[in-house]
Subunit: 332 residues, 2 copies
């Protein structure tokens, strides 16, 4: 039996994942905007988010949630963290019992500080929750370039079934059972990318950047472990892989935020221009709050949050990081 | 009591480490070439390796091994892996009992397939052996930029003493007790950088590069673990940190080898032009042999060795990597 897939959200990544899945399974993509749904089904393009790239021939799109979800055996949530819960509540009205829900979002919920699979557990208790996460620029995958990713679920059987939904020769999907580690990786890498942008903007050099990426990964690992995840997951595609992509790509919006801060641009201006689409800006606040609540040492995240929300000068943040005591590499 | 330090080898990195240490401890640098020794002591420059950068005011250099080593409480080996054993045999004639020996080399010994601390144990049994390793471009450190590194030794007390030899406000030296993991990281990152150069040369994209770095780190971790190291060490500065630096810096000679191979340059030509200073070229062969002997799955290393030594076309190597079966992210 081939699983029927519903992808919820027709942004660049949701559309790309739906296109990939449509080569393996009957797939329906839900777009909030009916015009986008019509364009995808009719012209096989989503010009607003993916330019002239063509989606898979078998992919259908709809703006009717019931049409997307009612028959689905798997629901994939391609919605950013700030709209995740509200959209999931729309899904709830139509989803069948026991259907697994996979999150594509890379952030934490503001206020509640919850991971997206925790939001799924609250809104849809009884539905297995997982994530698809990794170093995946949508436009490269639509362009036919090779990429690798991770699908994570606690249940080993379900995760192997879901691997078959997403994988292709060029999109190499590994399985992992550490959902928490994968989610922490996807969310926190955006915060570290802001710090790396700052570092690059100040011209601090390649050594400092490599150190910042590494120490950033170390604090991501500490948070994941404290939440019940495995630190080694952070050394994988959903942690390190995505972090490397986000910290070295010229196009990363989160890194752009850091570069702008280092140039001395006014915070309000940076936030208006790029902040609203850079998930790391919100995640810095939620992650810093989570770290404080759980007493996890996350100095880079804390400094990024201080710069973004407490008016701390980026240069002072860098100096404070350098002034920290140095101990064993893996101490807490 | 301040430890007296001898650094053996006045290349760019040996000279830089000696200069850093000379701010903390009485330090003598041994240069094979007496003219370089005289220049360092007299003019405080090493123009052949470090241009116009000035070394620490207190640093003395000598071409007499006895003068460098006889009084030393710590010996630091700043010699590449291919000359490591022969130089260590010169050190043996002068070193005092029990003095720790720290390796700066990033490679494995050809033929024996030994790590440098294993060579130290063979040549100088009874001397504690360790490494200093991390994402450290010499010219940035000489230029006064911040960097981080790891000093690793099995003995917790000794490693903390040695941390004080090397650290400064801008050179942040963490301690680690996993010598094997740090050595595997330093050696293998050069091999992965060749693969990444190939990938970039073929224009395979940012997703593929991030995946290659991550899967490269995973196979480095497998080798380290099989040798008795801890896989998490590879997620630290001596593994991931150094890997990120080597795989993204334009100046990495190992990455240049990969770029040249992708351009279709004849192997002999690449090896003549950059191969003799790119440690990854030799390490690809020793690491592939070690992986085969120990039955450790290292597909990227094996493909790099096949391209370098068996005449395999780089494009075929890429296709064979993509054709591999995909399983759990951390399977063996």
């Amino acid at each position: 039996m081939r699983l029927r897939v519903a992808v919820i959200g027709a942004g660049s990544w949701g559309t790309t994942v739906a296109s990939v899945a449509s080569h393996n399974c009957p797939t329906v993509l839900w777009a909030r905007n009916p015009e986008i749904a019509d364009e995808i089904t009719g012209a096989r393009t989503n010009t607003r988010y993916l330019g002239t790239s063509r989606v898979g021939r078998e992919l259908r799109a709809t703006a009717a949630m019931s049409e997307a979800v009612a028959a689905a055996d798997v629901v994939v949530m391609g919605v950013p963290s700030h709209g995740f819960r509200a959209t999931l509540e729309l899904v709830r009205d139509h989803i069948r019992a026991w259907v697994p829900v996979i999150s594509l979002a890379k952030g934490l919920e503001q206020g509640s500080l919850l991971r997206m699979t925790e939001v799924i557990a609250e809104v849809l208790p009884g539905h297995p929750a997982g994530v698809l996460s990794g170093p995946n620029l949508a436009r490269e995958i639509m362009g036919g370039y090779a990429a690798a990713s991770v699908v994570a679920m606690e249940d080993e059987t379900i995760v192997c079934e879901l691997q078959a939904v997403f994988k292709s020769r060029l999109f190499r999907v590994y399985t992992n059972q550490d959902v928490i580690g994968c989610e922490v990786g996807g969310a926190l890498k955006n915060v570290i990318a802001i710090a790396v942008g700052c570092c690059d903007g100040f011209g601090l050099g390649d050594n400092a950047r490599a150190a910042l990426v590494t120490r950033g990964l170390a604090e991501m690992g500490r948070l994941a472990e404290r939440l019940g995840g495995r630190p080694l997951t952070l050394a994988g595609l959903a942690g390190l892989g995505d972090l490397v992509l986000t910290c070295t790509g010229e196009l990363s919006r989160n890194r752009q935020v850091g570069l702008a801060l280092a140039r001395g641009e006014a915070l309000a201006e940076v936030l208006t221009r790029v902040g609203h689409v850079a998930e790391g800006v919100g995640t810095a606040r939620t992650a810093a709050a989570l770290a404080a609540r759980l007493a996890v040492e996350m100095p880079i995240t804390r400094e990024v949050a201080s710069v973004l929300y407490d008016g701390k000068a980026p240069r002072d943040a860098v100096n404070d990081l350098l002034a920290r005591d140095i101990r064993a590499e893996r101490s807490r």
